[in-house]
Amino acid sequence: MNRRQQTANFLVAIALAGSVAWICISVFSSLGGQTDWTKAWEYRGALWTGWKITLMISLAALFGSMIFGLLFLLGQRSSLPVVRWSCRAFLEFVRDTPLLVHLLFGYFVIFAPLISRPLSEAGWNDKLLIGILLLSIFEGAYLGEILRGGVESIPRAQWESARAVGFDRFQIYRYVIFPQALRRVLPAVAGLFVSLIKDSSLLSVIGVTEYFYNTKNFISRSYAGLEGYIPLALGYLILTLPVAWLSHVLEKRFRHET
């Protein structure tokens, strides 16, 4: 940075800090002394349970989306055209319609009439399971596309070379293509996993009592404002920041490697 850039940088920093401070001050002064953190403390039990459910949904859907992503990837690379095209059509449908619609349609129209009763009779939380399944399919569709891009970005010579050393089809993917493809798509995958954690809040529309649902409940019951929204944001940040951080670390490590 030269001297002029340094000065400009300094001025912009002052301006940004000033604007943020001004917004904070106006928000807090408009609320007057109404912010009452004891309300949040009273509801801590429900919020904590909700947060744990969100964590659980995220982990389960993370795992589920990997399975679906892999299936969609393999489906699109199948040697049977009918499998390839069905996969394509399904992915296109999933990616071009909102998750909210999938959840409402998938839950109320497809899955609830089919398997809600047997699930609840078996003692399972049907909303939670179906929600996780729908979220897994939705994120899996994106993951499948990301993985396909990664796999197709590996030069032909690598496939050739892998066949030449005698690897079979599974070994070619396992030892040659995936290790290289995953390095390339890691940032995109991490971004997707962050989205997945955030998207889990939409499961509230089918009545899954996760973090967003419980916080919303708490806010409407206690007329809370900031006391509800600040913990809500922080709760999601606690889940997403480690994923983002891990992806940066891995990305850096792989960059040095290759």
Binding site: P155, A157, Q158, E160, S161, A162, R163, A164, V165, G166, F167, D168, Q171, Y175, V176, P179, Q180, R183, E257, T258
Partner: protein
Amino acid sequence: MRLEVEHLSKTYGSTRATDDLTLHLGDTRVLVLIGPSGGGKSTLLRLLGGLETPDHGRLVINGRTLDSAPASLLSYRRKNGFLFQQFNLFPHLSARENIALPLEKVHLHSRPSALEIADAALDRFSLLDHSSKLPSQLSGGQQQRVGIARAIAHSPEILFLDEPTSALDPEMTAEVLELIQELAETGQDIILSTHEMGFARAVADQVAFIASGKIAELAPPLRLFENPESGVCQRFLSKIMRY
């Protein structure tokens, strides 16, 4: 090795890469394929190596007919070694792992034994100091030498080399050619395609001149280079010998 190739055709789109190609070869150690680019050398090599299946025709190598079932082609590939022009190594694995991994997963050596063989192969080509480097940290010549080490680590029946030096500068080319010559002298059966005529002459037992998807001429190097019989071969040789 003995080769019987009959009426071999392979088409890519509208290009006839090999066109009703026939080749009979009695006991030969080193067969070199020469000819203009796009003439079908690579395709023939890939067909012989079991990396492609022909549209028509028959391939008999050392008395064994190559069938096109994936499983039998896989087991055929596993017996042989193959080296390409470039981008041959796996970039995410060290030189040592590049050799050891196929030994372990394909040839079912134990991990220690795979590593031991890999180190011995690297040592043989004076690459042991570079064993833990990634391909991107090696020079082109070193990469190709590691590629050769990988291709011969499991003692292949036949070693296939597809223009092994065309992506290298002259110094590295010499490095790699010396190594191939050394392998030929130890008795390794080799089929290779190359544009290095001097090398072809020095190392080959038989030279096949391939143009337009056919064998235009097959002869021992001395005869083929001194007295080419076919017109295409004469023109090709006189053109490249001019400079």
